[in-house]
Amino acid sequence: MPQNTHALDSLPPRSQWARFLHAANVIECLALAESFNKQFQVEDIQRPESGLALLRNRDGARGEDYFLGEIPVARAHIRLFLNGEAMAEGGAQILDDRTPLARAIAILDAVLANRLPGHEQVTQLLNQGQQHIEQQQAQRQVLLSSTLVDFSLLGNDEDDHND
């Protein structure tokens, strides 16, 4: 299978693509993937599916693993063909229960990872999702920065009491 090894320095790491694409406009994501679906032949390496994942967490007291609960997961693993020749593999696992969205992100992942024709549009969607997440991060930064507290001032006055 030909793999394009172009440097993707300007892009965020592939480990963040699913997160960013998931944060982009869902309708645009599905529409773009559908356009690639017409351009390439898409084969499901693993049947796209949605269900639950058991969330394994490590406790902070003794470092033992336990299950915090369950989370929704949708996943897809596809291969793109052009003129019968395998072009690229893509995959996605997202916290969502929409199987078509996971498959769409897997297609976009394959196109972008291999810089296939149309990857610029995927980059745009990626940027859109990244901006959305950066806005979210900015909101959280305000929550933190505006509530930074210095308890070291406690105890300087006679009236202060420590429980």
Binding site: H77, R140, D150
Partner: protein, 378 residues
């Protein structure tokens, strides 16, 4: 217990469902249906309770469950659990590291200064518990301005959102026991029944989806005196835990999304190791989906209580794994309480028959014998 089948009740049952709908929509033409987004965001602490007690992190479905249950958290958690039981389980995540949590709140009552600083974040802790009458007449345009104006106050410099844990610092100083290096497969409370004794992972998983009030009540018994934990909060953190799963193609750990989590570590009384090692503080751990600090703190206290009970034998109810773990699940407890509303006509008829027989025997025993009657007449 015994039950009888109900016949001829279908119309009444359908009518009861309609009656619930009528009350939900009783505002009539003046009313607006609650949107799921409004429930998820404006009643976010309620949504948090339901995702945690339902054991499934799905805030949108939790909001739907709250709407459907008309605000009853137990019914909503039940609906969420019923939903999850219809879904296939695809995978188990690798162990997630809560040090990577993107925090919105972080406090310690053990230390004034902690690496990275303390951020109060969103909390009612320092608010006056007085009615905010302005909310009763809040206008949509005012409501919409609040978030925008608050967020305009962006910090001058970027602020870190993930921090080292306070307990890591204590551990580095040798004040805490080392972390376990060997991992066992955790106990899955959704697939296996609790048969005692159970491992600690079963206790943590059970408490993570326990009903908040139940956990609080038993933890409170420990706080008030039926226990000897004396906890201090090393750290309480609220934030978004990035969930990392392997990429289907590269195998590289890839962020699949994030989950709002509340986590608490409490430092408790120190104890000398029986093997003669250096004394160290003991720790309790609590965590749950959503923003629910009372639950995480209660869980951390009970974790420590249960560790003590498992090691030395329970000295009070909060240290007894069977007592705690079998009585904190809201859906279980609600189901048992609610089942008393179902027809018990056969069992109660039997109780009445036995009572009448016993009363008759009692009355006969009190009736004077012919000999006593004769003597009384003399």
């Amino acid at each position: 217990m015994g039950y009888v089948a109900i016949k001829g009740g279908a119309d009444a049952i359908n009518g009861a469902e309609r009656a619930m709908e009528i009350l939900r929509t009783a505002e009539g033409e003046q009313g607006e249906p609650l949107t799921l987004s409004a429930i998820e965001h404006q009643l976010r602490l309620l949504t948090s309770r339901v995702v945690s007690e339902g054991g499934l992190y799905h805030p949108k479905l939790a909001a739907l469950a709250i709407k459907q249950a008309q605000g009853d958290t137990l019914e909503a958690a039940f609906a969420l659990r019923a939903y999850r039981s219809t879904k296939p389980r695809l995978l188990e995540t690798p162990p997630q590291d809560t040090r990577k949590m993107r925090l919105i709140r972080r406090i310690s009552s053990a230390f004034k200064d902690i690496p990275g600083g303390q951020m109060l974040g969103p909390t009612f802790d320092y608010a006056l518990r007085l009615m905010r009458l302005d909310l009763a007449t809040e206008r949509p345009e005012d409501f919409r301005k609040i978030a925008g104006s608050f967020l305009a106050r962006s910090p001058n410099a970027p602020v870190a959102d993930s921090f080292p844990k306070v307990v890591d610092t204590l551990r580095a100083e040798g004040l805490l026991p080392p972390l376990h290096s060997r991992q066992c497969d955790p106990f899955d409370v959704t697939r296996e029944p609790l048969v005692f004794p159970v491992p600690r992972s079963a206790a943590l998983a059970t408490m993570a989806r326990a009903e908040t009030g139940s956990l609080l009540a038993i933890a409170y018994s420990s706080m008030r005196g039926y226990g000897d934990i004396h906890p201090t909060i090393a750290e309480l953190r609220v934030g978004y835990l990035p969930i990392e799963l392997p990429h289907p193609v590269t195998g590289e750990m890839t962020e699949a999304g994030e989950v709002l989590v509340t986590e608490c570590e409490v430092v408790a009384m120190y104890e000398a190791d029986s093997a003669g090692k250096r004394p160290t503080f003991t720790l309790g751990y609590g965590a749950c989906f959503g923003h629910n600090e009372v639950k995480a703190i209660s869980m951390a206290i009970l974790d420590r209580s249960l560790q003590k009970g498992m090691a030395d034998g329970p000295a009070n109810p909060s240290e007894d794994p069977e007592f705690v773990l079998l009585h904190v699940d809201g859906v279980d407890a609600m189901g048992f309480a609610s089942h008393y509303k179902m027809p018990h006509y056969v069992t109660f008829q039997s109780d009445m028959d036995r009572l009448r027989t016993t009363q008759k025997a009692h009355d006969q025993a009190l009736e004077p014998s012919p000999h006593q009657t004769e003597r009384a007449a003399q």
